[in-house]
């Protein structure tokens, strides 16, 4: 009986999350159709979807696995440029929605492979190494993309690290990536609907993973590594699993993001972007998927509304990071805030001293 109640509770929680996204999508669609949405906000729709996916996927690493990644934007970057290259190469050969889908899948795969390459050395180690390695990785990606010239022309697909001329694309060639200028001439394939679908897919993957054998193993590693090993759970395997899934989703989000603009530069996906996404996760609550969605949406929409406030935005983010951590991790501060949240209290063990009394 309890099991059914429990299942219902978990499922209900997830259904609310899915429902929230579907409802938001429908409302925006309706408002958009009736012409009630400003063009500025319309331009924000795809980025909002992208940031939601970024936040949810980072939450998999930070909240559910309990490791800090400071290079989430690096995976986004890889996905973005892979997606752009794929979309331009496929120009004219497949329909636009399919082209977008392929671009996103390829972006995801490349980012996932990068996740494996970064994760293997970093995740074997304890402590803060993953944070610093992912940070380094983000910088490496930015550096390399800044020196990369990619094009397609009469000699086919060409890559160079010297300059655009050395690509020898011929008369009708197209430069796809132009070193520090980034990717240019990007087809605008991204749509709000595709963003909505990516969010749903991300939620499906992350929420299903969380409530499963693999997800429990990941959380076991987070809660107590030594105990997890003692019950036969391979720590590295599950750390890698979570990290790679997280990187893969970031790659897909990156592809969607890039295909929403006509040009995109590597600088866009720097350390500050990684931190911004971390702020979404921390503010929404680590491990709390719905919180990430709300935080990503609000913090993406608000700055546009409060432009005057812009100078203080980053400062505010810094304060958010510090205060949320202090309040949620310091016993004294925790007790102080507990008084304000009596409603959300977990069942206390003192209730069950009497044995089987409850129900």
């Amino acid at each position: 009986m309890k099991k059914i109640l429990k299942l219902k509770k978990d499922t209900r929680k997830n259904l609310i999350t899915y429902g929230m996204i579907i409802l938001a999508f429908l409302i925006v669609r309706f408002l958009s159709a009736s012409g009630n949405i400003s063009s500025a906000f319309r331009g924000q729709l795809v980025p909002i979807c992208v940031y939601i996916v970024m936040a949810v996927s980072l939450n998999l690493t930070v909240g559910i696995l309990g490791e800090l990644s400071l290079g989430h934007a690096g995976f986004m970057s890889l996905g973005a440029f892979t997606g752009v290259i794929a979309a331009i190469i496929l120009q004219g050969s497949v329909s636009n929605p399919l082209r977008l889908a392929i671009a996103m899948v390829l972006g995801a795969v490349i980012a996932g492979i990068a996740g494996l390459v970064v994760g293997v050395p970093a995740l074997r180690l304890r402590g803060d190494y993953l944070a610093i390695v992912t940070l380094a990785f983000g910088e490496i990606i930015k550096n390399i993309i800044n020196t990369l010239y990619v094009g397609i022309g009469e000699n086919g697909f060409r890559i160079s690290m010297v300059n655009a001329e050395s690509l020898n694309l011929g008369e009708r060639g197209t430069v796809i990536m132009n070193g520090p200028m980034g990717a240019v001439g990007i087809p605008k394939l991204a749509t709000f609907a595709s963003g909505f679908i990516l969010i749903m897919v991300t939620l499906f993957i992350v929420l299903n993973l969380q409530n499963s054998r693999s997800g429990r193993a990941i959380m076991a590693v987070r809660d107590n590594r030594i105990a997890a090993e003692s019950v036969g759970i391979s720590v590295t395997r599950y750390k890698l699993m979570a990290f790679i899934i997280s990187a893969t989703l970031a790659g897909a989000a990156g592809a969607l993001y890039a295909l929403n603009f006509s040009t995109v530069v590597a600088r866009k996906f720097d350390f500050n972007t990684s931190i911004l996404i971390l702020v979404f996760v921390v503010l929404g609550g680590m491990g709390n998927i719905r919180g990430s969605i709300i935080a990503a949406t609000v913090l993406t929409v608000l700055p546009e509304l409060l432009r005057a406030f812009n100078n203080y935005r980053m400062l505010l983010y810094a304060v958010i990071l510090i205060l949320v951590m202090l309040v949620s991790n310091n016993e004294q501060l925790k007790n102080m805030t507990k008084k304000f949240k009596g409603f959300f209290k977990i069942k206390r063990p003192s209730d069950l001293k009497g044995g089987t009394a409850r129900e």
Partner: protein, 293 residues
């Protein structure tokens, strides 16, 4: 001559990394945390020295003393307000807080001094050293930087090895609880460690901006991360390791810039980190730390 000149500027840059890395490595060894804001303390130190010399007209030496005093105080305040309440929290929570502090310092600096780069006048105004009939010129900043690094590493090693607070530091780094039981004030020891690390950061900031004279609120971020890489490279927790790692990293960076690619020099430096962690996770001079079960 070209190679020799690159090598010397590599050692000089590496000396700055080494001084910063000392702060990371000491704090990591004793408080077991990555003080992400360390790089930004460097920036604060550089601004202090800049303001003292450019606006108030202090002598360079006095400005360095001021910078050290302010940074030492800043280090202690950061530790008290942000890190001490999290002594028993997960390393994830501490790290996120540290990133928050780093961001906080950068953005406060941005509000105070704006993002326009200030041109920093070198605090060292000695003549350059000319060798081999002027074929090899070594600037005085380079020489002072290298000398400062040697003096600091020697001094710190002596302090850690022989002084009372040094012994307390080693005890706390081995086993916090046991040290406490032996009557060592753990909180005070950690504070002193932060104070020393931050004071050194001020020196590093002044030397860094003397060699690369553009002062911005983000000036400390990248050297900070590279210095942490250097600390890991040399073996986190080890003072000679920080020096070795710092100098090697500086040399790799300058030689990479000179002979491979300017744009990729950062990528090369960070690849070193990933390779080190793959091949020798404890670093060149580090020792294995095992968790108590």
């Amino acid at each position: 001559m070209g190679f020799l000149s690159y090598l010397i500027s590599g050692i000089s840059l590496g000396s700055i990394y080494a001084i910063i890395a000392l702060g990371y490595t000491m704090v990591y060894g004793i408080a077991k945390m990555l003080n992400f804001a360390h790089g930004d303390v460097i920036m604060v130190g550089a601004y202090m020295s800049f303001m003292a010399t450019a606006y108030i007209g202090w002598s360079p030496l006095a400005s360095v003393v001021l910078a050290m005093a302010v940074c030492t105080l800043l280090g202690i305040i950061i530790e008290r307000l942000a890190y001490k309440p999290l002594r028993n929290a997960t390393s994830l929570a501490v790290l996120i807080t540290a990133i928050g502090v780093s961001y906080f310092l950068q953005n406060i600096a941005l509000l105070i001094w704006s993002s326009n780069p200030k041109s920093f006048t070198s605090i060292i105004s000695l003549d350059s050293l000319r060798l081999f009939d002027g074929q090899l010129i070594i600037s005085s900043v380079t020489l002072v930087t290298i000398a400062a690094c040697i003096v600091i590493v020697y001094g710190l090693t002596m302090i850690v090895r022989y002084s009372k607070i040094g012994k307390a530091m080693r005890a706390v780094s081995e086993d916090k609880e046991a040290a406490q039981l032996m009557g060592i004030d753990v909180n005070q020891t950690i504070s002193v460690t932060f104070a020393i690390g931050s004071g050194l950061a001020a020196v590093a900031g002044v030397l860094l901006c003397s060699a690369y004279p553009l002062l911005m609120p983000t000036v400390g971020a990248m050297p900070g991360i590279k210095a942490f890489t250097a600390a890991v490279f040399g073996g986190i927790g080890s003072i000679p390791g920080a020096m070795l790692g710092g100098i090697l990293l500086g040399v790799i960076e300058i030689l990479g810039k000179a002979y491979i690619s300017t744009e990729l020099s950062d990528a090369i430096v960070f690849s070193v980190l990933i390779i080190v962690l793959l091949v020798r996770p404890t670093g060149l001079l580090g020792k294995k730390i095992s968790e108590k079960v």
